[in-house]
């Protein structure tokens, strides 16, 4: 275990050093990930500001959801980049995954360490900025419980997205190519939770409650943090389910190990 952690740290620092080699290119790439979030949130902000909100949610309240989702997804996208289905799919297609399997070290650590996209720091910084704006503008009534719970929610959301990446990567063992439908789970859930869940048709809300239960990691906790009136109608335990859902990551890891046992190389 200790050995694996050391190895992971080693792989990560190699990644970082290589990405920092071209300073200007690195800065530009980092900026571009920030610009994407800035432009997307900017367009939402301009429109919500003009029309005074969306279904009773103010811009600041939407920013709470938005910042939470972008920050958690950004961190996940940086750390779990090796599992990003299109990236991982290439290892399977080119047969380089076979090389990893031959090495006598933990396979999960190797895949995690194979990619560490530092440029996502741009997206993360913007996500944090949006969240900070939301915290400040909403005048949240902080209680010790809320303060303690916030990092748990963030971390669960981060792990949850990571689990989705791992599932997507595992599926490429069978499909070889990464499948576009996986985007519905990853980018789809990240987009969906940028807004209050009440704006979606029932079947979409049910999908993100029972199939991909991301609703418990963002919408319900947000109701609790912001003291929204919808909280009264929600089941009282709903905002507090986030750590349980984060454990879903463990299931994803089980699936990953199951996939590795069944793995048949493409022969390339």
């Amino acid at each position: 275990m200790w050995h694996t952690l050391l190895l992971y740290r080693r792989l990560m620092s190699v990644q970082m050093r290589s990405q920092m080699q071209y300073r200007t290119a690195f800065v530009l790439e980092t900026l571009s990930t920030a610009v994407i979030v800035a432009v997307e949130f900017g367009s939402v902000a301009l429109v919500l500001n003009r029309f005074g909100g969306i279904q009773g949610w103010t811009l600041a309240e939407v920013a709470f959801l938005y910042g939470m989702s972008e920050t958690a997804f950004g961190f996940m996208d940086m750390i779990f980049a090796g599992f990003d289905p299109p990236v991982f799919g290439q290892h399977v297609r080119r047969g380089t995954f076979d090389q990893l399997l031959l090495r006598p070290v933990n396979i999960t650590a190797q895949v995690m360490g194979s990619e560490f996209t530092l440029r996502r720091l741009g997206k993360i910084a913007l996500g944090v900025a949006i969240f900070a704006f939301a915290v400040q503008a909403n005048q949240i009534i902080w209680t010790p419980l809320k303060l303690a719970y916030l990092p748990i929610v963030m971390f669960s959301l981060f792990l949850f997205f990571g689990g989705l990446f791992i599932i997507g990567a595992t599926i490429t063992f069978w499909t070889v190519d990464s499948i576009e439908v996986m985007n519905i789970l990853t980018y789809g859930s990240s987009f969906t939770i940028d807004y209050p869940m009440t704006i979606y048709p029932d079947w979409i809300r049910r999908f993100f409650t029972f199939v991909v239960p991301v609703i418990f990691l963002s919408y319900y906790p947000a109701l609790y943090f912001l003291d929204r009136p919808e909280l009264a109608e929600a089941p009282p335990f709903a905002p507090f389910l986030s750590p349980v859902v984060g454990i879903g990551l463990l299931l994803a890891l089980r699936f990953w190990h199951f996939g590795i046992r069944r793995y048949q190389s493409t022969g390339t």
């Binding site: 994407i36 432009v39 969306i54 789809g188 807004y195």
Partner: protein, 284 residues
């Protein structure tokens, strides 16, 4: 000079009546068309994802509309149409990114492309027209048909309007191509031009009306947007399709589209000339 085709298609295509360069253009377009046509399975697989994201996007717009009848000419039907059209057009205009030229520069493949007996910009345009035609048929039309099955949408009501949409679509491709070509030329200056590319495409989503219909933005944002070519590649197509742009305003819009298309195309030529002077091909 004659060009032989292995598919035997040449006898039937109208290219034999055209001037050699136009014939070359046609041949490159057809080759590109055939090559892209092989990705049929991907187009079908992409449908599910496209549909899902379309519904997510329109939910946001419908929620903003709320109880109101319409906002700036956009009612429920117009919003569904806006969503369907913008989703259908993603691949046609390569909205999510196009780095083919950039890759050709970085791999050195560009050296042989430059030797082809045809203008370099036209060569890429020919290939892009073939690609776009497939995107329009395999994705665009199918997506529009699928959305029409599920949602109440607004469609063109006259032959003239259909023609206007078609012309507008073609001009939009010219604008989009010019922009993408220029963006890709940055590869001549930077070995890592992807960041610049991503930056450019992101800006284009905002100003073209892909993220939100431009009419939803405050007036000052709209004014800035219409100073750029981007709304003429996307937002105006929606407004022509839904019948919001008619009469003299429609003619004016089509003319501006044409002007932007020609301007970007010329700019591409001029910038390329400077770029090629800097080109160094390493290895072989």
């Amino acid at each position: 000079m004659t060009f032989h085709s292995t598919t035997g298609r040449i006898a039937r295509c109208p290219s034999q009546y055209l001037y050699p360069t136009m014939r070359l253009f046609w041949e490159f377009t057809v080759r590109s068309f055939q090559r892209h046509l092989t990705y049929r399975a991907a187009a079908v697989a992409g449908l599910v994802t496209n549909f899902f994201f379309g519904i997510l996007r329109v939910s946001v717009l419908l929620a903003i509309l709320g109880e109101q009848e319409s906002i700036e000419g956009y009612g429920r039907a117009e919003l569904f149409t806006y969503m369907a059209l913008t989703q259908a057009i993603i691949t046609y205009l390569s909205l999510f990114g196009w780095y083919d030229l950039m890759n050709a520069v970085h791999s050195g493949e560009i050296a042989t492309d430059l030797l082809k007996p045809m203008g370099f910009v036209s060569f890429w345009l020919a290939r892009d027209v073939g690609r776009a035609a497939v995107a329009l048929l395999l994705r665009g039309v199918v997506i529009m048909a699928l959305y029409s099955l599920f949602f109440d949408m607004v469609h063109p009501t006259s032959v003239a309007q259909v023609t206007a949409v078609a012309v507008s679509l073609i001009l939009a491709l010219l604008i989009s191509f010019g922009f993408r070509f220029l963006l890709n030329l940055s590869a001549f200056w930077s070995p890592n031009a992807r960041g610049i590319g991503r930056f450019g495409f992101t800006i284009s989503w905002f100003f073209s009306g892909f993220l939100m219909p431009l009419a939803f933005f405050p007036a000052w944002v709209q004014q800035i947007a219409y100073l750029t070519p981007f709304p003429y590649a996307l937002n105006v197509i929606v407004e022509i399709y839904t019948g919001q742009l008619t009469g003299p305003a429609l003619w004016q819009t089509l003319c501006i589209q044409l002007l932007w298309g020609l301007l970007l195309f010329t700019l591409a030529h001029v910038t390329l000339r400077t770029a090629v002077k800097r080109l160094v091909i390493l290895g072989g």
